[in-house]
Symmetry: C2
Subunit: 204 residues, 2 copies
Amino acid sequence: MKEAPAVQRPGLRERKKARTRAAIREHALRLFREQGYDATTVDQIAEAADVSPSTFFRYFPTKEDVVLLDEFDVLAVGAFEAQSADLSPVAAFRAAARAAFSSLGEDELARLRETAELTLTVPEIRARAMDEFARTIGVIAQAAARRSGRDPNDFAVRNVAGAIVGVIMAATMPWSDWAEEAAGSDMLDRIDAALAHLEAGLPL
Amino acid sequence: MKEAPAVQRPGLRERKKARTRAAIREHALRLFREQGYDATTVDQIAEAADVSPSTFFRYFPTKEDVVLLDEFDVLAVGAFEAQSADLSPVAAFRAAARAAFSSLGEDELARLRETAELTLTVPEIRARAMDEFARTIGVIAQAAARRSGRDPNDFAVRNVAGAIVGVIMAATMPWSDWAEEAAGSDMLDRIDAALAHLEAGLPL
DNA sequence: AACTAATTGACAGTCACTGTCATAAACAAC
DNA sequence: GTTGTTTATGACAGTGACTGTCAATTAGTT
């Protein structure tokens, strides 16, 4: 008479894990906001989340990863493949990014902005973001390859993905004396404008 | 009656510092090659270079920086500004890169390859390379701005610089299962091809 | 030769991160 | 329920990168 939902229910254990994970991330982001990233030790986060320091590292391999785990590109890739096939890769990606962003809820957007802020501000995290970007190039290349029926390791495909990530970097990264201008325009708008510019062939 | 060469002679102190710096880097790279990056401790490097660990950190702020100090982009920027003004920014940069590469000596090329290898291989260093790339975007943007008489913070200028760095990343970074192909072609050739592709408008 | 300023080494300390082991809780069977 | 198995957790000890301070040395100067 059990008849328990086989796929549906994650099980108590899984739910507890998810709650622990969320608690750690939540308290970590709060502490970063309150005292700064460097000034916050892993021990403090662990204590605030009421777990042992060991447990912290079981959930996040490094302190940086508390900030860096977005899973957002998965969303974008889904939208990417849903675009009509006659669009150029860049145009398709741009449309996909817009769709993905607008599908986010308020709280998700807020967290995205907060982590983005930290990624831009803290050198350690900014550095680590490189690997994320490289991984993203791979993900985009794979999706573009599927769309166009080419090999994901194809040189041209990878190159397009690289250019996309490059202009996003340029639109996102903090500039020498550019903090004011950046504060004015929205990050997502800047990304969209950068993609539009790339789509148009980077005219000067 | 001194009449010492005012600008010419660096002074004994400076020469000693340069020699110490070179010794540290040399022994560090050798140890990395022999035992791997992670397995090599700063203490070992210091001992091999016959300085104290404290001194190591006075010359290089972090262990990663032993690898990451290229000063190569400065060379490229010089060549960039020497290109004729009717070339597109991308074409000009491509020509400049070729010129800069071919101006390097054998030993400099060897060291460039070795540090590049480490940058691609070791996750820590690869991550840190992000900041270098961001800086490089800035440097390229400044040079491009001077060339075209625009503001270095101009959106389009930055975006072009970002695209250039992006395709270089794509051509340089190691791929999922891509090691074989990469070994075949030369890194510099791949960079040139990537720039050519970008120059042509990224056709698929 | 004497004075000043820079370079260095020794030392102690912090913190991210790793590995191991024993305990306790969740799940699966009976 | 009661058992046995798996998994999450915490306590602990250790490594290594990095920081700060202080005293001794050494290069440059008068």
